[in-house]
Symmetry: C2
Subunit: 251 residues, 2 copies
C-alpha cells in the first residue's frame, strides 16, 4: 500500500498541539478528518514532531498509507481545499513504505523568535515572545556554543517527559537579530519535551545579564531541570524544516 | 491644553479600518474609548492616515488634546493596559498644540508583502497576499521607477475617492525578496485612496509578465482607474512609519 508524506505548515495559535487527542482540537485530528473526507478511510497518521499548543510549523511531517486513487503528489491540493487556512500541506509525495519519520536519521531546524522592544508589535503577538529588557546577543551566542554537541539534556527537559534517554545531539545554535527580533535558530538530530523552549528561556536569561555564558556548562552537568532557566512561551517557537542526511527522502 | 501624539501599531485583521464609524469596530473607535476610560473625556482624535479594513500599521499617528494629569509620555503605558493586544501605543509624547498630522510636511513608508510560493504559509496568511505565479523582481523594480516622482495618480486611485486633487509625490519604490516574500516598499509625501494597493497589484501584474515596465508611463498618463492593474488585497499592506523632514516632530 503506498505511503504518502505530507510536509505540513500550521499556525498553532488555535490548536491544542499537534498530537491527536480525542477531546481536543489538534493538528493531527483535523488532518485525519480531512484525509478521511477525501479517501473514505480514517488513516493511521504518523507524525514526525509533537509540537505544543501555540507552537507553529513551516514543515512538520506526517505519513499515512492509502489505497486511494489520488496520486501522492496531488494530495496537497486535494487536502488544502478541505483544510482550514491555518493548516496547509506545502507538498505531498510518495515515500518508501518502510519510511518512518521518527525512526530515521534526520536533522530538525527550529527558530525561536523574541520581540525585543519596549512594546509588543501587534502583528507579531502570536509569533514571538515579548522581552522588553535589552538582550546581549554576543553573550547569548557564547552561551549557545555550550549547548552544541551530544549531551545529557535532562536540565533542558520538561520533568513530565516519559522518555528515559535524555542524551541528544545539537548540531548548531545561532543567535541573530532581524530588526527588533532576536532569532535563536537551533539545528539538532532530536529534541526532548520543551527542550528548545527551555534553551531559549535560558539564553534570554543570560542575554539580560542574569548569569554568564559559562554557566551553561554547569547547568548541563547538573542533569536537573531546576538548574536551567525558564521555559520560554510556546508562541515564539516554529518548527522550520526536516532534512534527511541519508537521503532516505529528498524533500 | 497639551496635545498628545500616539504612535500606534495595530493588527488590522479584526477591524473595519482605522477611521471612526459609529456602527463598526474601528481602530479610532477603540482608541477613543480607551482614552475616555483613562481621562474621563471622549477626545477629539485626529488620525494621520486612514487605513482600510484588514490593513496593518507599525506606526500610524493620532493626536488629541487633554487636560488629564497623566504625563504625555506615560499615556502609552496607561493606554496599553486598557487596549486589546491587537492595538498598541508604541510611544506617546507631547507635541506643539498647532501640530496636525495631516497638515504638515511628512514622509510615509508603506510595505506591501506578497507570499510568492505555491502554497500560502499559514503564519503569514493575514500579513501577505498569496501569489503563486513566479514574479520577476527586476521587471517589477523597472516598472516601479516610473511611479517615482510627482504625477497625477488618478489611474492609481479608487474611483470612490472624494479628493479632487490627484497629484501626489512618490519618493521611492523598492522591490526586494525576503525569503519567499516579495516586499514592495513605498515612500511618499502623500497617497490617494487605495493608491499603494493599486501600485502593488499593478507591479505584480507586470512581474508575472502581463505587460512591460514601460506600460506604467501610459497608465499614469491615462488618468483613468481602468488603465492600471488590480487593487491588491488589504492584508498585505502595512503602514510602517511617519517621518517629518521639517523636524516639527522627532519620533
Amino acid at each position: 500500500m503506498p505511503r504518502v508524506l505530507l510536509i505540513t505548515a500550521y499556525d498553532g495559535t488555535g490548536y491544542n498541539g499537534s498530537a491527536y487527542q480525542p477531546e481536543a482540537v489538534t493538528i493531527e485530528g483535523v488532518l485525519k478528518k480531512a484525509i478521511k473526507g477525501l479517501t473514505g478511510h480514517e488513516p493511521e497518521l504518523i507524525g514526525a514532531s509533537r509540537t505544543d499548543a501555540g507552537v507553529h510549523a513551516c514543515g512538520n511531517l506526517f505519513v499515512f498509507d492509502t489505497q486511494a486513487s489520488i496520486p501522492p503528489d496531488k494530495f496537497s491540493y486535494a487536502l488544502n481545499s478541505m483544510l482550514p487556512d491555518d493548516i496547509r500541506i506545502m507538498k505531498s509525495m510518495e515515500v518508501d513504505p518502510s519510511f518512518h519519520p521518527r525512526h530515521c536519521n534526520s536533522v530538525k531546524t527550529y527558530q525561536y523568535r523574541i520581540w525585543n522592544d519596549d512594546v509588543m508589535l501587534p502583528v507579531k503577538r502570536y509569533y514571538a515572545w515579548h522581552c522588553s529588557f535589552n538582550l546581549d546577543i554576543e553573550k547569548m551566542q557564547q552561551a549557545a556554543e555550550y549547548l552544541v554537541g551530544t549531551h545529557d539534556f535532562t536540565s533542558f527537559c520538561n520533568t513530565a517527559t516519559q522518555t528515559p534517554d535524555h542524551v541528544r545531539t545539537v548540531i548548531s545554535v545561532n543567535v541573530f537579530r532581524e530588526g527588533k527580533e532576536v532569532v535563536i535558530e537551533v539545528k539538532g538530530k532530536g529534541f526532548l519535551y520543551n527542550m528548545v523552549r527551555i534553551m531559549a528561556g535560558t539564553l534570554a536569561m543570560i542575554g539580560r545579564s542574569k548569569g554568564s555564558p559559562e554557566d551553561i556548562q554547569a547547568m548541563i552537568e547538573a542533569r536537573n531541570r531546576s538548574a536551567a532557566g525558564p521555559t520560554a512561551p510556546a508562541n515564539g517557537l516554529c518548527l522550520m524544516k526536516y532534512e534527511f542526511p541519508d537521503k532516505e527522502v529528498v524533500i
